[in-house]
């Protein structure tokens, strides 16, 4: 992290400058509470957010959280008010508990921009990236891009059981676990001994008889749920493996890395054998055209198929970040598309969305000592 951040007034002024530029671009100003009900955030991020956000207890409102990001409250607010197309900008503090000793800030300003649009996603994606690119241009940052949508489409298109696809989709954001599951489903690693023993036992009698023998039933998970999973384990053990060809294609897809045109050529190659990704690769291609039309030098733009896999798990399409050449720094800006999140928080409504945040503290530090 920053050797030394500029003073707060300088950072605030930088935040104001960025915010004003977003307002100038036509975005609506929006505010969000600092103290947020913890429920929706916990439900979305799980236990990880509890380790990373400040949780406190309110005598009336229950468990509350100091705002760990703006995206969730802004999306919630937008979805509650009709979910019509619009663009928002905001600025304010976010709070992140740091569980490691070091200089990472636990409180800092964010300036953000979120676009809710039903128009062609390529145009909206390119618009957000080009706007950030323009605002950050004097800082000579290194951009990084990726597209979660291609990987998600590849998994959805695998020729295997729905259950296996669901398991892989759930762990797309945990690369090591995803790899272990894929290797197992493709028969590239043997089933663990513990699973073999479990299958042996499950094969020896009906789930009901085995439960009877195991002792009294306790807890909220019902006997029907236990029996259903016992049966599904046996089903899974006789399901044919993911073909070596499909597994190898997924490997090549995950390894795609280079300039955007190189990546596009490689992905089009893979799509010839893995047609399920063709629409997503088409969107990538459209996005590059839209970026070029907005003046971005796409020939030099880096692209990595795996970019964004270890961040918060709501991006499901285009992902991007901007990095300073300083060791140990987090990205100066980052963002992406999160269509599914609006459905999760929309209670029946949904609208495609893309956005991103900039850290004015880091911008100000770079301006002070380029």
């Amino acid at each position: 992290m920053p050797d030394r951040l500029p003073d707060r007034a300088t950072i605030r002024a930088e935040a104001d400058r960025l915010y004003a530029a977003l307002l100038d671009s036509g975005a609506q100003p929006v505010e969000a509470d600092i103290l947020l009900p913890a429920g929706a955030l916990l439900d979305l991020y799980g236990e990880d957010i509890r380790a990373r956000a400040y949780v406190t207890r309110d005598p009336i409102r229950g468990e509350m959280m100091l705002r760990p990001d703006f995206t969730v409250p802004v999306v919630q607010m937008h979805m509650a008010h009709g979910a019509e197309p619009t663009r928002y900008c905001y600025r304010g503090e976010v709070f992140r508990k740091q569980d490691h000793i070091g200089a990472r800030a636990s409180e800092y300003l964010q300036v953000g921009y979120e676009v809710f649009a039903r128009e062609t996603p390529a145009t909206a994606d390119a618009g957000v990236f080009a706007l950030f690119h323009r605002l950050l241009a004097p800082l000579n940052l290194r951009p990084a891009t990726g597209d979660m949508g291609i990987l998600l489409a590849a998994v959805r298109g695998l020729n295997t059981t729905e259950r296996r696809k669901a398991a892989l989709l759930r762990h797309v954001w945990r690369p090591a676990r995803f790899r272990a599951l894929l290797d197992r489903f493709a028969g590239r690693t043997a089933l663990p001994q513990a699973r073999l023993r479990l299958l042996d036992r499950l094969g020896s009698a009906s789930p009901e008889a085995l439960m009877q023998a195991a002792g009294p039933f306790i807890g909220l998970r019902s006997p029907e749920e236990v029996a259903a999973r016992a049966r599904s384990l046996i089903e899974d053990s006789i399901a044919p493996p993911v073909s070596p060809r499909e597994a190898a294609l997924l490997d090549s897809l995950l390894a795609v890395s280079g300039t955007a045109p190189q990546a596009l050529a490689r992905l089009e190659d893979i799509a010839a054998s893995l047609p399920s990704i063709a629409p997503a690769v088409g969107r990538f291609s459209d996005r590059l055209s839209a970026l070029a039309a907005l003046g971005i030098d796409t020939a030099a733009l880096p692209f990595q198929a795996g970019h964004g896999r270890s961040t918060l798990e709501y991006y499901d399409g285009f992902v991007f970040s901007f990095h300073a050449d300083r060791p140990g720094w987090p990205p100066v800006a980052s963002g992406g598309r999160y269509d599914a999140l609006t459905a999760v928080l929309g209670q029946g409504r949904s609208i495609p969305a893309v956005g991103g945040v900039i850290r004015p503290g880091l911008v100000a530090a770079l301006r002070a000592a380029p």
Partner: protein, 236 residues
């Protein structure tokens, strides 16, 4: 400035700590009555004994209010962020062993490993509309362990005691707790996951990196290390 040594103030942990130092020629003694929480260490000049609750010792070490402390490695690793940057492990003392494990109802015949727990957590959330709850007092250790192994869709719920009863009481679906023999688990119809050992805990002697390591404190530590045959830690 004397070398301050914090040790557990009661029960078996205190007795065994006194015995461990005693066997190495350092006789620890509680001063005055049994109610007084200080004492002396015979044969070690410039050292002061403080009797503290085992649960407070990690915090005292972290703050550097004591130079050395004896407590369970489970408490240090759970209560202190980046524990090994805050304390140095001088000796595992060979007593107070207990395993922090993850356990589920024995009647979950479809579950044997963390892999199963993860799959069950996903299905449970879809059916019940909330995450599978794991009751524990050891949030950091359990969360880091599960994150490292790619388990998702669970939540930790705080348990202040009688953790083994939480499943039966419907306040959790699984537990993560300390066990030495496993008897309490069996009595509560729970079983340990075969790869669910989070941490093997043991009473351990720690040195606090943040303590004021004056020349006198260093000299007393060198004396203690020599008598007990311990390697001197690298201190700031």
């Amino acid at each position: 400035m004397t070398l301050k040594i914090g040790v557990p103030s009661k029960g078996r942990l205190m007795d065994k700590t006194f015995a461990w130092f005693g066997a190495r020629g350092l006789k620890m003694r509680q001063s005055g009555s049994e109610r007084e929480y200080s004492g002396s260490i015979g044969g070690l000049d410039g050292a002061e004994l403080l009797l503290l609750s085992a649960g407070e010792i990690p915090r005292e070490l972290s703050a550097g209010r004591i130079h050395l402390g004896v407590t369970g490695s489970d408490l240090v690793r759970d209560r202190l962020a980046d524990w090994d940057m805050q304390v140095a492990e001088l000796a595992r003392m060979g007593f107070g062993q207990a395993d922090l494990i993850i356990a589920v109802p024995a009647v979950w015949i479809d579950v044997d490993t963390l892999d199963d727990l993860d799959a069950v957590a996903a299905a449970f959330r879809a059916v019940h509309g909330h995450r599978l709850r794991i009751a524990t007092k050891y949030h950091r250790l359990v969360r880091d362990f599960l994150a490292d192994r790619g388990v998702a869709d669970y939540q930790l719920v705080d348990s202040l005691g009688a953790t083994e009863g939480s499943v039966k009481n419907l306040t959790a679906e699984a537990i993560a707790d300390i066990t030495s023999t496993g008897e309490t688990l069996r009595a509560n119809h729970l079983k340990t996951l075969s790869d669910g050992l989070v941490h093997r805990s043991e009473a351990t002697l720690y040195a606090a990196r943040a303590a004021d390591w004056t020349a006198a404190a260093r000299a007393a530590l060198a004396d203690l290390a020599q008598r007990t045959g311990l390697a001197l830690p690298v201190l700031p």
